[in-house]
Structures are given as C-alpha cells and as structure tokens.
Symmetry: none
C-alpha cells in the first residue's frame, strides 16, 4: 500500500496546485525508490529494459493521476477520435466512450455526416462533429473547397485536444483519407500526439512519411495490419522467431514512432526498448477490443505527458507508458468481463469493466 500510494502521490504532486517542497522531495524519493532513477529502475525494469515483460500494474499506478477537487473540466484529458463513416459507427464510439470510462473529461468524435446521428445516439456523453465527407457525397469540382472546410472545422478544435485517435471506423474512401492525412499534418504541426489504428493504419502504411520521425505517434497494428506494415517498411515477411528484434527495427525505421503490436502478448517498441504485456486476457476475440485499446492509449499517453512535463520526472517516453498502461487495463477488463459473460462477452461488456478494473489496480481515493 505504501508503494501504491507513493506512486499515486508522485503523480498527484504534478497535478496539485501548490505542493510544498518537502512533499515534492518525499514523492520524488518514492518514485525513485519504487521505479528506479533514470539509471536504475529496479521495480519497473520490465517496463524499461529491452525485450522483457512490463510491470503494467505499476505503470498504471504511476500514470493515472490522483483526483483533485480543485481541478476543472478538461484537466483530466480531452480526447478526439477521427473516424466513423457511412459503413462503420461502432468503432469510433468504442474508442471514444472507453476514453471517458477510463477517466478522460471530454471525448469528441469527428466523423462523416451520415455516421454522426448514429454515433450520437449511442451515448449523449460524446461530442460528435459531423464534418468528414466521403467521395460519394461530393462532386469532383467541390473537392478542394470541401477539404478546406473539413480542415477548418478540425483546426479550430485541434489545440484543445491532448491526444487524437485516428482510424477507428474510418473506412477507405480516398477523398476522406486524403483529408485525414492533412489532419495528421496539422496535429504534428501543433505537437498533438495521435494513436493510429484500423483504417488509419491502412493510410499510414501507404504513406509512411505521415508518421515518420514523429515521436508522439503511436501505431497499434493487429496481426494483418502488422504484416502489411512489415512488408511495406522492412520489405520482408513477419519473423516470429525474432519478433522483438523485428519490431524494434520497424519502429526504428519509421524514425522512432511507438508501435504496439497486438497479439497473444502485446509487444511495444519505439525502436530502442521492447516491452511485452502478457498478463490476464480473455480468449474471446469479439470485434471492437482494438478500439478500446486505442482510446485507452490516448488517455494514458495524455496523462503520461503531464507526468513528463515535470522537470524532475524520470519518465521519458509517455507513448510507451501509455501503451503499457492501456494494454494492461484492457487485458484485465477483458478477463473480468469474460468471467461474467463467458462466450457471450461483447466489447460493450469489456468497456463496462474498465472502471472496476482500474479501481482494483489504482483506487480513486
């Protein structure tokens, strides 16, 4: 319990408004003792060293902020999902609602006009912007003007977001993807981190420069998306015998972006270290779990960014911490949902277990 509270307090320090310097020193001491300094990290060694199992529960405790009554709306995270088209509406909803259920304050969705009323109807908690357009709804002559309008709509919100999730239910319409590639450029310009999943990975795999060397980009490929990424970037097949080295090479080749390769064990690398998360889990493979993960990475990455902003923070890579935390939490929630619902476990059931799972690891008070 001492360890647990030490971790929480360590982050609480960063969010409280006027901590005393003795409290600061004590918390810093606890972080160092429990997580190790920059050089020695005995407890989190799994999270930081090459090719080993991360201590996901400890990372969750470190990254998750304490809840301070003095804070106001938005300070615990403002997330936006870019996704949702005529065909897909569930995926962006899952990503956006997961962000809220984990503890973000505000969750937006930018989707097509057709998708918006449906996504809105899933939950009044989301702010849904019907701004994207697909080719079928516009003429060739309108395209340039429409693209400018779409970008203008996203631009006026961009600086408010702590992280984007790009891709859930995006579809593959060429005009829409062109707009989304410009949204990525805009996010990079403003240093807004983003998580790329689903059809966003289709876009990125074909235009790798969109994410190359952007340290605040996280890619979360599943088996097939990873296969295409390896083929395209490394020009070879997936090598399961040297999975960790290959992942490291891939992340390095893309200029140090963070990749979370989803699988029986999740593997995470930024081209330097490789971490795995293998705890818990469920044998159920219902569609949508990847969307929970992408929403979760966005929230934990945002929180880890706040943590990093402390000048004395020993944590250097918020993207890796975000991936480890989200992977660990999703696995715990999936495991809990499976004990309750067995074969009939659906993604919504797992989302309902996010709060209980996080509370179990990292009590709110």
């Amino acid at each position: 319990m001492l360890a647990k509270h030490g971790f929480i307090s360590a982050f609480g320090r960063l969010t409280s408004l006027s901590p005393s310097s003795s409290v600061l020193r004590r918390q810093q001491f606890l972080v160092r003792t429990l997580c190790g300094s920059r050089i020695h990290r005995p407890k989190l060694i799994g999270a930081m060293s090459s090719s080993s199992e991360a201590d996901a529960e400890s990372v969750l405790r470190i990254v998750t902020p304490s809840l301070d009554p003095k804070r106001h709306k938005g300070q615990a995270g403002k997330i936006a999902v870019i996704g949702g088209c005529r065909e897909y509406t569930g995926a962006p909803y899952f990503a956006a609602i997961s962000a809220l259920k984990i503890g973000a304050d505000l969750s937006h969705v930018f989707c097509t006009k057709d998708a918006a009323p449906v996504i809105k109807s899933y939950s009044p908690e989301l702010i849904v912007h019907p701004v994207l357009e697909e080719s079928y709804s516009i003429s060739e002559e309108e395209k340039r003007k429409v693209q400018e309008k779409v970008l203008g709509e996203v631009d006026k919100w961009m600086e408010r977001f702590d992280c984007l999730v790009i891709g859930p239910g995006l579809g593959r319409d060429p005009f829409l993807l062109e707009c989304v590639s410009k949204i990525m450029v805009l996010a990079k310009k403003l240093n807004v981190p983003f998580v790329v999943d689903g059809d966003g990975l289709f876009l990125v795999t074909n235009s790798i420069d969109l994410v190359k060397s952007y340290p605040l980009a996280v890619l979360t490929p599943n088996v097939n998306e990873y296969k295409r990424l390896v083929q395209k970037v490394l020009n070879c097949q997936v090598d399961e015998q040297n999975a960790e080295d290959q992942l490291r090479s891939l992340a390095k080749q893309i200029g140090g972006v963070t990749i979370l390769r989803k699988g029986k064990s999740d593997l995470i690398s930024n081209g330097e270290t490789v971490n795995s998360v293998s705890i818990y889990g469920s044998p159920r493979r219902c569609g949508g779990q990847g969307d929970i993960l992408s929403g979760g990475v966005a929230v934990f990455l945002s929180w880890a960014q706040q943590l990093k902003s402390s000048p004395e923070s020993p944590f250097e890579n918020p993207a890796i911490l975000g991936c480890i935390a989200a992977s660990g939490l999703l696995r715990k929630a999936a495991s809990l949902a499976f004990t309750k619902h067995k074969r009939s476990t659906l993604t919504s059931d797992i989302i309902e277990c996010l709060g209980e799972s996080l509370e179990d690891i990292c009590p709110a008070s």
Copy 2:
C-alpha cells in the same frame, strides 16, 4: 423527522387544493419556527445572510413540494430547454432529463431539425420540438421568414412553461443565436423565468441587455464563462481574493439577476446576498454536469416560485433558493455516483443518482 416533515408540509400547504385553515396555520407556524420569519431566519441564516454557506439540505426540503394525489399532470413543473444543434445533442438531453428525474412533470426541448431525432432517441420521456434553424440550412432571403416561424412555434408554448433553460448545446451559429435572443425577449414579456448556461452565456455576455434587470434570470457560468462575463461587464479580471464581493458587484451591475458561479464551492448572488454551497461533491470533472445543474435550477426555481406565490411566504427570492437547492442536490448525486463508479463516473451515472439523493434528503412519503 419532525423538522423534515414540517418543511415538507409547509410547502404542501401551498400546493394542496383545499387545506383547512387550521392546517394552514399549523404549517405556517412550522415554517416560521424552522426557517425563521422575514426578520429572523435562524435555521436558514446561512442561506440568506451575506457570504456564508447555505443550508442546502434545508432549502431542498422547503422547496420540494409534497406529492399530492389530487394534483394533475404539469403541476409539479413544466420545463423547456432551448438548445441542441448539429454539433451538440448530449447537453440539452442532460438538462431536460435531469428536470424530469428531479420531479418535474413535463420536459420539452426546442432544438434544430438535425438534433431532434438524436435527442428523441436518447429518451422517449422528452418532448422534442425540431424548430430551430442554423445558418447553413437556410438562404439569406429566407432568414426573416424563418425567424418569424421559429418564434411562432416557441410562442405558442411559452406561457405553459414554468421555467426555461437557455443554452445547453446551443452552438454559436449567429442566426440561431439571434432567434434565441428573441425567445429571451418573449420569455421576459410573459414573465417566464429562465436559466442561462453554456452557449446561452456566450450570447448574453455579448448582449447583456438581454438579461439586465430581469429578476427571473439566472446565469450559471463555469470558470471560463465567468471570466468572460467579469471582463465584459466589470471591465476587469477575476479577483479570487475578493470573489464574493466581485460576484455581488457583477450581479448588481446586471440589475439584480441571480448568478451561480460554479467552482470548487458554488457561489450564488443576486447583487445583495452571497451564498455558497460547498457540501458533498466529487472530484470527477466529466463534461455534462453543468447541464444537470441548469435543469435542476429550473425545477427548483419553479417550485420556489409556487412557494413564493403564497401571500404569507417568508421566501423572497425563488432564483436563489433554486440555485442553492440544485447545487446541493447535484453535489450529493455526484458524490453518490462517484462512490459507485469512481473514475469511470459519467454524467448519466450522476443523473441516475438524482432520485436517490433527493429521496435521502427529502423523502417523497
């Protein structure tokens, strides 16, 4: 318990259809004993004196009417929310459903045509009027005619409402806001009270005459909305050292409207007294809690208006009573929801706790 029932009976008197005069005298005695006369209000002193903590639970007990089987639909309150546009649908839903969950009989929403089907889909309990229009859907030539039509649609309902909530999810479309400013003028003409929140505050801050000197107007600004209001009206910055005096000056400057300044403690002033509500609460800052508050103020203000309509009533300002009651109830419900859901608490969870929280303070039977 005697005290609690005394308060309830005291209000029951005002709403029952044919109480005997001995019952009336007994209830009047109880109100005087428990709340004080116009001159001495020992129990509610906190609610009425300058700059002190209100006794929100006692106010809730006084304001909430007893449930009388002889009453008919509508007598416990008819509320209308003006809000909901292409972008926002959750906020007006939260305000309108909260009004019902607290105990109003009927809750209407006047929103744009795009927003209406979505808001309707959240709940069959609401009456949703798709009457507002945004600039994008009409031509310049149509504007005057459309505005007349919008006002006509609202006008035919206006007199039936006990209170309006103007602003949740209204958006900032200039044409829509122009229509809403005319709806405010109409409400004032008919002496219908209104609570202004969200984008309604954006409108009012830029056109302060819309609410100036209307004693039945309540403004419920959050941190940023308050900052803009202070800058615009008092032409200075927010002064946290003299928060209560500044709030009093602001309310006075706007001609005695009631302002509920949301924060760690809610501060309430009509330019004369300043009351605070600091009880309960939750550290979760998920978006939408302000909408619950605005819906709640509308209901409690309506009930306090009925209370005031008694010639012998010791209560002079229903807007202040409404604000104290709504603030206290929201805080209690948020606290209860947080004990159940912790970090994953969402606005819908808080709404689900409104009934239990009110029942705990003020049992229905």
